[in-house]
Every structure is written in structure tokens, then in C-alpha cells.
């Protein structure tokens, strides 16, 4: 009962645990992979504006996968994100579409245009 009450306030506990795990994996990365992951995470959290906890956790965890692999293989950071880090981050964010704040606005735009079309003279 108590757990349920807490979860409604804080989000599912399991999800929080997974989120902390992904964070911990990123903090455990050696330099310069940790800084890279932190920077990308910051941008992705703001840019993608994911509205659903599970997707946000998945995004963090996928990023941890990528940079853990890069650290293990000693892949230079530049080879991981390419010449354009912004483009990379935004391409990455595309995978999590459908769960973003902007999706609601996209639906609203589509509906508004549909409504406008109905007012067109025949």
C-alpha cells in the first residue's frame, strides 16, 4: 500500500532503479567517454523531451551501451559521434519518437489542419 502511494508520487520504483543503474554505468565510464555521455544525456533530455519514464530510461541505457562499447574498444570519441555532435544527438533522439512532448503538439497541428480543411469552400 505504502509502496503504491509512493510510486504515484515518484514514478514506478523499478523504473527509478533502472534509471539509477544507467546513470551509475555512465558515471563509471573512463574519461573521455563519461564527459561525452554526460553531454549527450543533457542535450537528449532537453531536446527529446520524452514524456514517458520507461522511454527515458531506455534512452539513457542505450547511450550507456554505446559508450561502454566504445570505451572497451578504445574507439575515439570523434569516431563515435562524428563531425557533428548535434546532428548525431538529434538522429539518436529520432529512435524515441512517439513518446515526446512535441508529439502531442504534432497531433494537435494535424487535427487543426483537418478542421481547417472542413471549412474550405466546396
Amino acid at each position: 500500500m505504502v509502496a503504491k502511494w509512493i510510486e504515484t508520487l515518484t514514478g514506478p520504483l523499478e523504473q527509478k532503479k533502472q534509471y539509477r543503474e544507467a546513470k551509475a554505468r555512465i558515471q563509471a565510464l573512463p574519461s573521455p567517454y563519461r564527459q561525452t555521455a554526460d553531454a549527450l544525456n543533457r542535450y537528449l533530455t532537453l531536446y527529446a523531451a520524452v514524456t514517458d519514464g520507461a522511454t527515458l530510461v531506455q534512452m539513457h541505457s542505450d547511450l550507456a551501451d554505446l559508450l561502454e562499447r566504445a570505451a572497451a574498444d578504445n574507439t575515439p570519441v570523434g569516431d563515435v559521434v562524428g563531425d557533428d555532435p548535434v546532428d548525431f544527438a538529434e538522429t539518436f533522439a529520432l529512435a524515441y519518437g512517439g513518446k515526446q512532448w512535441i508529439d502531442k503538439e504534432r497531433q494537435r497541428l494535424i487535427r487543426a489542419i483537418e478542421d481547417a480543411k472542413r471549412d474550405e469552400p466546396q
Binding site: D62, D65, L66, E68, R69, A70, A71, A72, D73, T75, G78, D79, V80, V81, G82, D83, D84, D87, F88, T91, F92, L94, A95, Y96
Partner: protein, 117 residues
């Protein structure tokens, strides 16, 4: 990579990777190497990874984690029936585009212009 190449690749890279996976399952690094060997020298590993995450979330591939000698397990991507259908669609679109664009290159093959004679 020149920015025109980057822009053009954006629409086709999904299809290219699905076509690669149609031959055999592969992990991310193999796909990146394959692309680099064939002239996409500047392609970033992360770009390919982002694409793989995307096609995984769209359920076009099945993913299996296999242990690796060093570091975390590697994800091996296998094309599934949904992915195969998507690839067929990609080839149809590609053939159409390639044909139309190629026609533009040969002036004689262009649609005859109205001369007003």
C-alpha cells in the same frame, strides 16, 4: 563527409543497413566497418548505432546479446519478417527514385517540352 552526402544518406542508410542484414546477422561494429570499407569513410559509429536502436524500436530486427571477450556483451541484429517487408518496400522506392533521377541526366530522355509549334 560532404554535407550533401550526409543529407542523401539520411534517407537511404536504413535501407542499406537492412540490406546488409538480409545477408546475415551482424553487430554494430561490423556494419560500420562494412560501410567504411565501401567508401562511406566518415560514417560515425554512433550514427550506425542510433540507426540500429531505431530499427530495433520499430521491431524490424531481432536482437540477441552475445558475450564478448572484453567489455559489455555485443548486440547481434537479425532481420525479421517485418524488416524484410520493409526492405522490399525500400527496394521498390529506390528503383523508382533511381530511374527518375537517372532520366534527368540524359537530356534526350526527358519528357518532351511543349514547343508551341
Amino acid at each position: 563527409m560532404a554535407s550533401q552526402m550526409t543529407e542523401m544518406l539520411k534517407g537511404t542508410l536504413d535501407g542499406i543497413v537492412l540490406a546488409l542484414l538480409a545477408d546475415r546477422p551482424a553487430y554494430g561494429y561490423e556494419i560500420t566497418s562494412w560501410l567504411r570499407d565501401r567508401g562511406f569513410t566518415d560514417i560515425a559509429e554512433g550514427t550506425v548505432y542510433a540507426l540500429l536502436v531505431r530499427i530495433e524500436r520499430r521491431a524490424l530486427v531481432d536482437v540477441e546479446k552475445v558475450p564478448s571477450e572484453k567489455g559489455p556483451p555485443r548486440k547481434v541484429y537479425t532481420l525479421n519478417p517485418t524488416g524484410r517487408a520493409h526492405l522490399d518496400e525500400f527496394w521498390r522506392t529506390w528503383s523508382f527514385l533511381a530511374e527518375v533521377i537517372e532520366q534527368l541526366r540524359t537530356p534526350g530522355a526527358r519528357a518532351p517540352r511543349q514547343t508551341g509549334e
